[in-house]
């Protein structure tokens, strides 16, 4: 307990940093994921190919390597951004590939007849997508997207090993002051558990709301 009370501001800043990093990266990942999933189910072959390449590369590259590329590589091109932005880019792009695949499989679970019915009613492509297909697909993807966002919150720890703006990174500051390292880690672990449990509670709620009444 002493480790926590004596370093409360460092710890709290780290926790808030993790929450911010997770939230902003999640927003980027969702936007990119929806966009690329749109590409992957599009009737245009070139867009489908682009989506496939995006997903294949990002799903098979270690996140650490992505951080390595973004944090050390982009500055070589004269692109210097705050570390937070770099971390959001790496985490957001990486997670977008997984979210895209979850969405794509969700869209594919919508029965063909639903789209056919929409077309025979004279709905346009956009109306079919927005009013018929996506609402049904969304129900199917609540649970997988929830676990992807929990994975994102946990993966944000990798950012902490490059910089101290994040919960795991705070161990260095606290350690240098000579506090018990085991307890430092215990409290860091508690911080992550609180965050992941909060996300999982939120998605359990969403899942119950989205459940189809039988």
């Amino acid at each position: 307990m002493h480790v926590l009370t004596a370093n409360w501001s460092t710890y709290w800043q780290g926790f808030v940093g993790t929450v911010e990093l997770t939230a902003v990266s999640a927003a980027l990942a969702l936007v990119l994921g929806v966009l690329i999933a749109g590409f992957r189910v599009s009737p245009v072959p070139a867009l489908r190919a682009f989506g496939t390449v995006w997903v294949t590369i990002l799903r098979n590259t270690p996140l650490t390597l992505l951080f390595f590329i973004v944090v050390l590589g982009l500055p070589r091109f004269g692109i210097s951004l705050p570390f937070f932005t770099f971390a959001v880019l790496a985490l957001g792009c990486y997670t977008s590939a997984f979210i895209c695949e979850a969405l794509r499989s969700g869209i594919n679970t919508v029965p063909l007849g639903q789209g056919e019915a929409a077309r025979s009613l004279g709905m346009t492509f956009g109306q079919t997508l927005a009013l018929v297909v996506l609402p049904q697909a969304a129900r199917a993807v609540v649970a997988p997207v929830g676990s992807l966002l929990i994975a994102l919150a946990k993966n944000s720890a990798i950012a902490g090993s490059f910089s101290v703006v994040e919960l795991l990174g705070t161990y260095r500051t606290i350690n240098e002051l000579g506090y018990d390292i085991v307890w430092t880690f215990v409290w860091i672990a508690v911080g992550y558990l609180v965050l992941t449990l909060a996300i999982s509670a939120l998605f359990n709620l969403l899942e119950r709301k989205a459940a189809v009444a039988r």
Binding site: L47, R59, T61, L63, L72, G73, I158, Y171, T196
Partner: protein, 270 residues
């Protein structure tokens, strides 16, 4: 790259006019992507990334050996993780399926805890607080995390075997261990193998976390070369060598998972 257009809930099979329109969209998209790549290529050339000087390091035997040892160390950590995580997963899956409440609760606690904790926090804890060597800190962290995920995969697989199979086995007078070993596990195995291999892809990617605790694996070797001032900081060449190797290894494992799945789908009764 991707299969030909199929009908989906979103659209019918495109007719000749729609196909023409799609070709037009596709052409536009290709132009956009080509423009981006051209810009990237221009930036790369103008910052001298393709100058011979940046690629010289790869000619040195020492550098090649460094990369090779890095790759071997990556594979060593991965191999040890596979060897340890599979038994760990099997043990805790059995624990979660146990009839004894205490065993079941304890296993649930262990599995849920290690699944919820960021892998890197565990690795850092083992490395920094418990002062374990980098290789074993990495392997221990990877085993605890992937083993816990595998335990859930195993448990789901065993529970997915139709109940009648278990009931029939008990009716024949088999004991619990026999039911598990002769009836449930062999059937569950077929269904689970693709998920197990997919989880191993995750483990393979996560070995690169070793880089952060100074384990001398592939990415670590890459960083050593990329930040070497003597070779004019060949960052892009290093990424162009390292990234395809990681992607290739992961694709190979994914392909294996797909092959096993296709193999498993063939019914033995045909």
């Amino acid at each position: 790259m991707s299969s030909t257009a199929e009908a989906s809930a979103l659209y019918d099979l495109p007719g000749p006019r729609a196909r023409g329109r799609h070709r037009l969209y596709g052409f536009g998209a290709l132009l956009g992507i080509a423009g981006l790549l051209a810009w990237l290529g221009y930036e790369l050339v103008s910052t001298g990334q393709f100058s011979a000087a940046k690629w010289i390091p790869f000619q040195y035997v020492g550098i090649q050996e460094l990369l090779w040892h890095g790759l071997l160390n990556t594979l060593r950590a991965f191999g040890l993780t596979v060897l340890l995580a599979l038994p760990f997963g099997a043990l805790f899956a059995a624990g979660r399926l146990s009839d004894h409440r205490v065993v079941r609760w304890a296993s649930t606690l262990v599995v849920e805890f290690f699944r919820a904790m960021p892998l890197l926090v565990m690795i850092f804890f083992i490395f920094v607080a418990m002062r374990v060597q980098p290789l074993w800190a990495l392997v221990a962290g990877l085993t605890l995390y992937n083993g816990s995920v595998l335990a859930e995969v195993f448990r789901a697989g065993v529970l997915a075997v139709p109940r009648g199979q278990r009931e029939a086995a008990y009716a024949l007078g088999l004991r619990k261990t026999q039911v598990m070993a002769y009836v449930l596990v062999p059937q569950a195995n077929r269904a689970m193998l693709p998920s197990i291999v997919s989880q191993l892809v995750v483990a393979l990617k996560d070995t690169s976390l070793g880089f952060l605790i100074t384990y001398e694996e592939f990415l670590h070797a890459g960083k050593l070369i990329a930040t070497n001032l003597d070779y004019d900081l060949p960052f892009i060449p290093v990424v162009m060598v390292i990234a395809p190797v990681y992607i290739g290894m992961c694709l190979l494992l994914s392909w294996l998972a797909g092959a096993i799945e296709r193999h498993g789908r063939r019914s033995p009764r045909q």
